[in-house]
Structure formats: structure tokens, C-alpha cells
């Protein structure tokens, strides 16, 4: 294949992959701590995207300024959801959490459909179409900012888990639920904090995503399986893994699209997902337990 198209497509894939990584960071945090799969992750991303969109549309707030508003709001939504709904649903079976979060995503998406119709909305920032040329690839500014943002967010999350008391409690809880309880960690609170942070990261993702993307009630659906793929690829619960997994998936999709055509390109993602789950469920970077 001609490297003159391959290289730009890889670069493009890398920036898209950074966005996937951003979306997957919250998912992997939630999985790593609570050992549950949040199927409503895509729907919650859609909520955050609408938040960014309306802040811009109604109040003229720039998506990057929304970083101060949307993530905290998403955190609160996550915290409340976990405490009020998700904890009560498990009855000791993981699948029940999957079902409940599936139900939540159906409700959220269809409410959005009802209120916002199925139209696609974009924010038309002045910088939205500015591009830089790198190795023959024309990369929009927002995508480069999102790429840097993904790295910073992953790093910040890692620091938070390593250096703060809450981070340490979360890690303790992830490893040993009973032990954590014994040393006085408020388990329901820390669980809800983890879920809240995971959803809050979606808020960051939405702010960074919106300038180069769009929002519609169904926008989250496409992200659900992709985010799961990134998470299983990188190893459940690993931030570094999510970052690398995201980049790989972005490149797979871009190159797959190049080889198979736009519509079939996505198959690469699911093929990776299925193959990883079948042959290496601990992820590329994870260790077998």
C-alpha cells in the first residue's frame, strides 16, 4: 500500500483513538473498582455532549470552558445513579447490573429522542475547521487538543489513584472488598465516588469531543462497544491500557476503513473485541490471574 495515504490515515486514526481512549478511561475505572460493566456509558456520554452543546448554543460558552462545568455535573449524575439505582439492582449477579444499565441507556436515549428529535447537532466554533499539516495528514486543531487532553486526563487519573487518600481507598476496595471494609473505608461512598469519577471523565471527553464531532440521541450507541473494546484490549481497570487500547482501535478503524471501505472498516473493531475476549481476556497488557 502507498505510504502517502497510509501514514496520514494512521495519524488520523491516532487522534480518533485518543478520543476513544478518553471515553474508555471512565469505563475502565468503573470496571476496575466495582467489577461491573456500565452499559449506559454511551448514553451518559450523549448526555454530556448535549450539555456541552446547549451551554454553547444557549449561553455561548466555549466547549473548552465547559470543562469547568460539565464534568462536575456528570460526576454528580454518576454518584447519584450508583447510589440510588445500580447498587440495588445486582442481587449478587453481574448480569443484573448489565441489564439495569441497559435499561438506563434505553430510557436516556429515548428521552433524548423525544426532547431533541433525532437531528444531528454541531457547535460551529471559529477554530473548528482550522487544521495543521503533519506528515501529509490534515489534522483539525480540536483533534490535537483532544489528543493532548486524553494524555493529560489519563496521567491525572493515574496520579489521583496513586497519590490521594481517596485514590488509595478506591484501589484498596478494588483489590479486597472485605478488607477495605474492615479498615474503615466507607464502601458505598467510595463505590459511588468511583462511579461518579468514571462518569465525570465522560464530561471531560464530551468537552474535548464536541468541537470536532456532533451530537444526536444515538451518538452514544456507537461508542459503547468501541469503549468496551478499548477496555478489554488494554486490560480491565488499566488507565495506560485504555490509552494504548484506544490508539490501537483508532488506527485499526482508520486503516480498516482504508482497506475495506468506510462502512466495513468498523468490523475491524468488533473483530478485535471478539478475538481479545476469546483468546486474551486479561487484555494485551494485563496479567493472567
Amino acid at each position: 500500500m502507498n505510504s502517502a495515504i497510509l501514514l496520514p490515515s494512521i495519524l488520523n486514526g491516532t487522534t480518533t483513538g485518543a478520543l476513544y481512549a478518553l471515553v474508555a478511561l471512565g469505563l475502565t475505572l468503573i470496571y476496575g473498582v466495582l467489577h461491573i460493566i456500565n452499559f449506559a456509558h454511551g448514553a451518559l456520554l450523549m448526555v454530556a455532549l448535549y450539555g456541552v452543546y446547549f451551554l454553547y448554543k444557549l449561553f455561548g460558552i466555549d466547549p473548552y470552558v465547559s470543562l469547568l462545568i460539565v464534568p462536575p455535573l456528570m460526576f454528580c449524575i454518576g454518584y447519584v445513579l450508583q447510589r440510588l439505582v445500580i447498587t440495588r439492582a445486582s442481587h449478587g449477579r453481574d448480569e443484573n447490573i448489565l441489564l439495569v444499565t441497559l435499561g438506563l441507556s434505553i430510557v436516556i436515549e429515548n428521552l433524548a429522542l423525544f426532547f431533541f428529535k433525532s437531528d444531528t447537532q454541531v457547535v460551529d466554533t471559529p477554530y473548528g475547521f482550522e487544521v495543521v499539516e503533519i506528515f501529509g495528514a490534515f489534522l483539525p486543531y480540536p483533534k490535537i487538543i483532544a489528543f493532548v487532553g486524553a494524555l493529560v486526563t489519563a496521567g491525572a487519573l493515574w496520579l489521583f489513584m496513586e497519590r490521594t487518600d481517596l485514590g488509595r481507598s478506591i484501589r484498596a476496595l478494588a483489590k479486597e472488598r472485605k478488607g477495605a471494609q474492615l479498615v474503615g473505608i466507607n464502601v458505598p461512598h467510595v463505590f459511588a465516588m468511583s462511579f461518579g469519577i468514571g462518569v465525570g471523565v465522560l464530561g471531560i471527553a464530551a468537552c474535548l469531543l464536541m468541537p470536532s464531532y456532533y451530537v444526536s440521541p444515538q451518538v452514544g450507541q456507537g461508542f459503547v462497544l468501541i469503549a468496551f473494546t478499548v477496555v478489554v484490549l488494554g486490560g480491565m481497570g488499566s488507565f495506560g491500557g485504555a490509552l494504548i487500547g484506544g490508539l490501537i482501535i483508532g488506527v485499526v478503524e482508520a486503516v480498516g476503513g482504508l482497506v475495506l471501505g468506510e462502512s466495513l472498516g468498523q468490523i475491524g473493531i468488533f473483530a478485535v473485541f471478539i478475538l481479545i475476549l476469546l483468546f486474551r481476556p486479561q487484555g494485551l497488557l494485563g496479567h493472567k490471574v
Partner: protein, 319 residues
């Protein structure tokens, strides 16, 4: 035996519905309920009796539906043969996926996600193949003759569906009184313990996949012949998968009558919701999603479990 009499009684009553219901609206309501019950019972074989929650049952539905449509449109194969092919392919695909996933020990949530991913793969592929009609979908030519499995009268469609559903329910009834059923439920409740007393969990789960795929595929064939149009979103999209799992969860997982109960309850709720809030897009899905959340939270045994639970609660002093 009592269960069988009740089952046959219900289906006997259902069989004569077209003679007593003259309005298309009401007959259609019963037909859609029966159709949901068929989808739900098919899912129930694997999910309710086998404990393997699939999020991608639209895969088997779509394979069944596309089988009859593609063979008919592209190769001129009679749809009655297509009915057999649809069930067969639904079953074969289900076994293939079961073979892959169970071989590598995927359980629980992972199984759910892998089935969903497979459904997505099929959706994308059918979107770009010329012989499935790609994104525009595939249209079965109108030819209202029984030999083409197309009927002028709604009641004939209804009886076709009735027959398929009856076979499905009888199969599930026999699960409750067979070695295979006993083993399937043992695997659901504790795979290791079942293995220790000689149950080959892998084979048992594959058989459940085969049955579940078969009846879901037949439901797909019925859909294709009834509406004469398919596209990748209808066939492999999430709507059918959600309906399939919602019905038995609402009615009662792993019970014979649960899917019937769930289908009826959901249909009534859906109609009432439409009456009350109008026909806005998405609103009935909001209602169904809410029901799913509430059921899993507060009534994990489904409404069919209500009676049993309250009796138990009395004995246990409300514990």
C-alpha cells in the same frame, strides 16, 4: 401434567381467537403479543433456563429473516423451504457462536457483550453486501398465495405464528421434565457443581444455543414474510435483542408461562402508554426501559414470581 393442560388450554383458546375477534386491530394486538412471546420464550431457553444472558439475539432473528428473504429473492427458493432454512441457519449460527464463546470459557457479562458484538458484525456486513440488498434493504415481492407463505387474511398469518409458538412452548415444557432440562438448569445454577456430578456444561449450553437460535430464527422468518421488507437495522439492530430479553425478565425468567405473561403485560403497558402520552417517537421505549430497570431492581423473579414470592414471604416472616 397440570402445566401441560394449562398450556394446551391457553393455546386452544388462542387458536380460536380469530373466530371471535372481528376487528383487525384486536387480532393484530394478540398477534403481536404472541410474536413477542415467541421471541421471549426463545431467549428464555438460553437466558432463563440456561443462565446465559445474550444481548445479541437479533443476530439469530436477522439470520432467519434474511435466510428466507435472500433465498427467495435471489434464488427463487420457496419460503416454506425458507422457513426450514431460516430456523436451521439461526440454529447453526447460534451453535457456532456458542462453540467459540463457551470453548474459551466466557461467562456472564462477557457472553452478553460478545453476542452483541457478533450482531453488530452481521449488521455491518449485511449493510455492504449486494445480495442482502445492502443498506437499502431487501423487498420480498407481494404475492398473496399460501404457497408463497403470504396471506390475504391476517388470521392466516396469525395461525402460522400460533403453530410456531406452540411448538416452541411445548419444547420448553418438555425441558421441565427431561434430562437435558435438568442439566441445563444445573449448569445455570452452578456450573462447577454440575460438572462434578457428570454434567458436560459445554455440550448442554450448545444445545440450548441451538434451540434458542432455532426458534429465534423462525420468528425472523415470520417477520420477513409478514412485513415483506428487511434492512440491516431491523434485522440485526438492538430492538429485537432488547424485546427478546425484556419479555421473559418481565414475565419470569426460567418459567414456562413467564414469556406469555411478560408479552401480554408489555403489550398492554405499551398500548396504555400510547393512549396516555400519544404516539411520540421513543416514548414507549422510555416506558419499556423504565420497566426493565424496575423489574431487575425490585422484582427479579418477574411478575410470574409475585404469587410465589408473597407465599414464601409469609412463611419466612417477611424476610
Amino acid at each position: 401434567m397440570k402445566q401441560l393442560f394449562i398450556l394446551l388450554g391457553i393455546f386452544a383458546a388462542l387458536a380460536v381467537v380469530p373466530f371471535f375477534v372481528s376487528s383487525e386491530f384486536w387480532l393484530n394486538a394478540v398477534l403481536l403479543t404472541l410474536y413477542a412471546a415467541l421471541l421471549g420464550q426463545s431467549w428464555n431457553i438460553l437466558g432463563g433456563y440456561g443462565g446465559q444472558f445474550s444481548f445479541g439475539h437479533s443476530l439469530f432473528f436477522g439470520v432467519g429473516a434474511y435466510s428466507v428473504a435472500v433465498f427467495q429473492v435471489q434464488l427463487g427458493v420457496n419460503p416454506w423451504i425458507g422457513l426450514l432454512l431460516g430456523g436451521l441457519f439461526g440454529s447453526v449460527i447460534a451453535v457456532g457462536i456458542g462453540f467459540l464463546t463457551f470453548r474459551y470459557g466466557l461467562r456472564g457479562s462477557y457472553f452478553a457483550l460478545v453476542t452483541l458484538a457478533f450482531a453488530e458484525v452481521f449488521r455491518i456486513v449485511s449493510n455492504s453486501l449486494w445480495w442482502t440488498g445492502a443498506g437499502e434493504g431487501i423487498l420480498i415481492e407481494l404475492d398473496q398465495r399460501a404457497v408463497m407463505m403470504q396471506f390475504k387474511s391476517l388470521s392466516h398469518y396469525y395461525w402460522l405464528l400460533w403453530a410456531i409458538t406452540l411448538v416452541c412452548f411445548l419444547t420448553v415444557w418438555s425441558l421441565g421434565r427431561s434430562r437435558f432440562g435438568a442439566r441445563l438448569m444445573a449448569v445455570r445454577d452452578n456450573e462447577d457443581a454440575a460438572g462434578a456430578i457428570g454434567v458436560d456444561a459445554f455440550t448442554v449450553k450448545l444445545k440450548a444455543m441451538a434451540l434458542s437460535g432455532l426458534f429465534t430464527g423462525l420468528a425472523g422468518v415470520f417477520y420477513a414474510q409478514k412485513f415483506l421488507y428487511l434492512d440491516p437495522g431491523i434485522a440485526f439492530g438492538p430492538a429485537v435483542s432488547v424485546e427478546s430479553l425484556l419479555v421473559p425478565i418481565v414475565g419470569g425468567l426460567g418459567t414456562l408461562f413467564g414469556p406469555l405473561l411478560g408479552a401480554a403485560a408489555l403489550h398492554i403497558v405499551g398500548e396504555v402508554a400510547r393512549e396516555m402520552i400519544g404516539d411520540a417517537p421513543g416514548l414507549n421505549m422510555v416506558v419499556f426501559g423504565t420497566i426493565l430497570v424496575l423489574m431487575v431492581m425490585f422484582l427479579p423473579r418477574g411478575i410470574g414470581g409475585l404469587g410465589k414470592m408473597s407465599v414464601r414471604n409469609i412463611f419466612k416472616g417477611g424476610k
